[in-house]
Symmetry: C2
């Protein structure tokens, strides 16, 4: 026990000193949710909050990893250290994003100012978002100036990532499909910066035009309010928010979402992306929104962790047979899931 404590203390100190092997080891423990990882996270917490968190998201085929690589290189040339967390909501059988890492590493290998970590899906619902927050926090404590959080796909996971980052970059590319759904309104809503990558492909102007039209339809400031709803509206039946959201929204300064064209493979247009990140950061800072985003981020994480912890405690108080009996009754159509929840929560 003493040995383990000493180990953890040393490990934490080494992480704070920027030791890469200690960093890798602690992240593995965090991913595996070992008991000492929780201790380490608590002790590292006062050292966090200094890194600038940037989310990079977009559909497969947009050249996301190449762009993340290019952004990391550009940040390095401005003397910023960079952590990269590649969140790959995929399966054990792919072995995570190992191949993706290797491709990225070609460019960044040997640079001690860059640290890359791929995350595979750790199974449980919502578990990936929580573990990602923890891994980002460990990198933050290790002193990286900027942490790039790369996600694959579209949907709820991206909204969760947007909660984690201060600036969210959404990538599109020409020829990514012309059906109506491809316009991905939900992703657009979380974008602070839009990048049209592969801008040497035909159709780039169509893509830019479509994105601009979508932006004009939306109101950026809604995003902030949307983030804040998670807890307050927990009990209340949700209203139709189409109109009243616009009226009730706080009067934040308007951020005009830029649409930037890049050819990440040739490192073209990347400096403009870095400049836009800096401008957005300054905008958040001057408008007071940086503190708001940080607070909303912590509130969202708090709620997610509360849900998990409360379930864990309840399940620990009940026997597996009790839970199984309720599932049996649901399967038999005797009680519905809401009734099963009430019985388990209120029952002995």
């Amino acid at each position: 026990m003493t040995r383990r404590n000493t180990d953890t203390t040393t490990l934490i100190q080494n992480v704070l000193n920027g030791d890469r092997r200690a960093l890798a080891r602690l992240i593995t423990r965090v991913e595996n949710r070992t008991p000492d990882a929780q201790t380490a996270l608590a002790q590292l917490y006062p050292h966090t909050g200094r890194a600038y968190l940037v989310g990079v998201t977009g559909a497969p085929g947009t050249g996301k990893s190449t762009l993340v690589n290019a952004i990391a290189r550009a940040l390095r040339s401005r003397d910023q250290t960079v952590g990269i967390v590649a969140v790959d909501p995929t399966s054990p059988f792919s072995g995570g994003a190992v191949l993706g890492d290797r491709i990225r590493m070609n460019d960044l290998t040997g640079d001690r100012g860059v640290f890359i970590r791929s995350m595979a899906n750790r199974g449980s619902l919502g578990g990936l978002a929580a573990t990602t927050s923890d891994v980002v926090r460990v990198m933050d404590a290790a002193g990286f100036d900027v942490i790039l959080i790369e996600t694959v796909g579209a949907g709820q996971s991206e909204v969760d990532i947007a909660r984690t980052a201060y600036t969210t970059i959404v990538i599109d590319a020409p020829g990514m499909g012309d059906d109506v759904q491809a316009i991905k309104a939900g992703i657009l809503e979380i974008a602070d910066i839009l990048v049209v990558n592969k801008a040497d492909r035909p159709g780039v102007q169509n893509t830019v035009r479509a994105l601009r039209a979508m932006l004009e339809l939306g109101h950026r400031f809604r995003t902030i309010r949307h983030h804040g709803e998670f807890m307050i509206q927990q009990d209340a039946p949700q209203q139709d928010t189409a109109q009243d959201t616009a009226q009730d929204a706080p009067e934040y300064d308007f951020w005009p979402v830029p649409i930037l064209e890049t050819i990440a493979l040739e490192h073209q247009g990347i400096d403009a992306v870095i400049d836009a990140i800096e401008q957005h950061r300054a905008h958040l800072h001057e408008s007071g929104m940086l503190a708001d985003r940080e607070r909303l981020r912590l509130e969202a994480e708090f709620a997610a962790r509360l849900r998990d912890e409360l379930l864990r405690r309840l399940i620990a108080e009940r026997t597996p047979a009790e839970v199984a009996a309720l599932v049996d009754r649901m399967v038999a159509r005797e009680i519905d899931p809401a009734q099963a929840v009430a019985l388990l929560v209120e029952g002995e």
Copy 2:
């Protein structure tokens, strides 16, 4: 009060009688989480479990909606009634998937054997999955033979949808991007049927070959086990499952995932998709996996609802000031989120 009860009772009866207006009205109440919706869901529950649930998912640009449309038409020509739930994890500002509906409706309008409902994101984390389950259940009670559940994107939301459906169809298309991440291993893992749509495009054989290679890497039966882990592994630190999953997995009959080519816009290859759905259904039935999937589905929904309900109850016992004070301390880096959770749960 009596008036409201009478209304709800009539509404439920009308839904069970297949009244489309009653169905639409009840689904709206379910989406808005009105108190009477909960009553209605409980009363409808004994009438559910008869529809066959099919999930259809894939990246934007694969022609997903067109394929869902074509599948619905083909099912109609086999005298099956069809409900369609389009889960669009997007934002209020797009107004849901209204335009997408309109396009689909052109083909299916006036056919009373088809009912289409688009769902926008209702805000809270995990809320969409729960509401989708409820809406599917209402359609199930209304007597549709098959319910198609269409999702956009990639990632956790698709895994959740896979939990809702018995048969999951994953769509790909040629030219969807050649970067490593595009291989979307996580989505492949949930596929019971793979469809390469837009098969008149160049590169279709490359796409089929890539999918086949990925399938050979993976083991289909892992998916089932993966679904079952959510509750059992709640407390336990997650192990590296690469090896031991294969050993511990139950000995389900192997389902060879077919790779089918379609041109949905010209209705080519659709009959083979319907046949594959029927074969997979028979396979699940004969192997006993149908009952297992149903049970795992209900278990997953049970856990998700428990989390929400426990959080709701805890928050109701605390004052907003207490919660805000803990967030303040997190913002000030005095306590980390795990400590905040412990303080709120254990505190007075």
